[in-house]
């Protein structure tokens, strides 16, 4: 069950504020600081997902990926195996909205995915990676580490 239930209206312009923030932090405090904030978001805001992963339960992670990409109107494919979860996003809703608003996409945009995912997996038996195929197209992988 999702810790944060979200079922009502969406304010997609927040993708623009995120984009501005990524650049601001990277430009003024460095990319490592940005990664640290994003990893903290993954570990602390998504504590429920993190703690379940640490206990070997990926159910909330799956629900989170499925619900929020669906809710944002993404075209995606989720493939689940016992030790691996793959999410291929064919058109990132955040990048799509930035383009709709006429805003340049931050060169750090994909860190919001890779570092938040890394934070969710931190100190658990799972690890994450993101392969960027093209702008707005990526494959996110969560894989159980070999013991």
């Amino acid at each position: 069950m999702l810790r944060y239930q979200e079922n009502n209206q969406l304010h997609r312009d927040f993708h623009g504020t995120t984009n501005t923030t990524l650049d601001y932090i990277a430009d003024n405090y460095g990319v490592d600081a940005l990664k640290s904030i994003l990893q903290d978001t993954g570990e602390k805001v998504y504590k429920s997902i993190h703690d379940k992963l640490a206990a070997g339960d990926a159910s909330e992670l799956l629900e989170h990926l499925n619900w929020f990409y669906f809710r944002e109107g993404a075209k995606y494919q989720l493939t689940v195996e016992p030790d691996e979860i793959k999410l291929e996003v064919f058109e990132c809703p955040a990048i799509r909205h930035l383009k709709k608003m006429g805003l340049p996409v931050s060169k750090h945009a994909c860190l919001q995915t890779s570092e938040v995912n890394a934070g969710m997996c931190k100190n658990t038996q799972w690890e994450s990676s993101v392969e960027v195929i093209g702008e707005g197209h990526c494959i996110q992988t969560f894989r159980k580490k070999e013991c």
């Binding site: 009502n8 209206q9 304010h11 623009g16 405090y29 600081a33 904030i37 978001t41 504590k47 929020f68």
Partner: protein, 176 residues
């Protein structure tokens, strides 16, 4: 992607990081510049009515419980339940004590740029309820500020110290 539903919880993490480095004020200015993309032309062309339209859309998209009205040359807004702070309080990560300050932090510079005086008032920073007043009538909004102070609001923010700039920008707006 950070879902737009969860942006404010990320925002909260950013605030904690910046507050520890005394960096909130400069960041608010950056957000204010970003918000110009959505608001500046609209507010310059339509004034208080433009604000009603912009925040009317925000009310729907952000699921705000709020009311607002324009009475003559003053716009009043009362946020009965702020969805932004509500989410930050409903959060497994610790809330930034200064979370509410981001709102006057970006709105006040934008209002100065549009030639409006602005007040944000709250009784507490951990209760998702606040009010705002907008006007280009300094005498009227100053009287409203006095009343808010008398009514015991603990936190009152304004851009009255930017009076010269507000007045210059007001004249520019009236040309539009």
């Amino acid at each position: 992607m950070i879902p737009s539903d969860h942006f404010v919880r990320f925002y909260n993490e950013v605030f904690k990081f910046l507050d520890a480095r005394n960096g909130l004020e400069d960041y608010y200015l950056e957000i204010s510049r970003h918000q110009e993309h959505h608001c500046l032309k609209h507010f310059m062309e339509k004034g208080l009515q433009g604000m009603e339209e912009y925040w009317g859309q925000i009310r729907v998209e952000e699921n705000c419980i709020m009311s607002s009205e324009v009475v003559g040359d003053v716009r009043y807004s009362h946020m009965k339940k702020c969805p932004s702070l509500s989410k930050v309080l409903d959060n497994d990560a610790e809330p930034c004590e200064k979370y509410c300050l981001h709102c006057p932090g970006w709105v006040a510079p934008l209002m100065t740029k549009c030639g409006f005086y602005y007040i944000k008032y709250l009784r507490a920073l951990d209760v998702p309820e606040c009010g705002s007043v907008f006007s280009d009538n300094l005498e009227k909004i100053s009287a409203i500020r006095q009343n808010l102070k008398r009514d015991g609001f603990k936190y009152i923010f304004d851009n009255f110290d930017q009076r010269e700039e507000v007045e210059v920008n007001k004249q520019e707006r009236l040309k539009v």
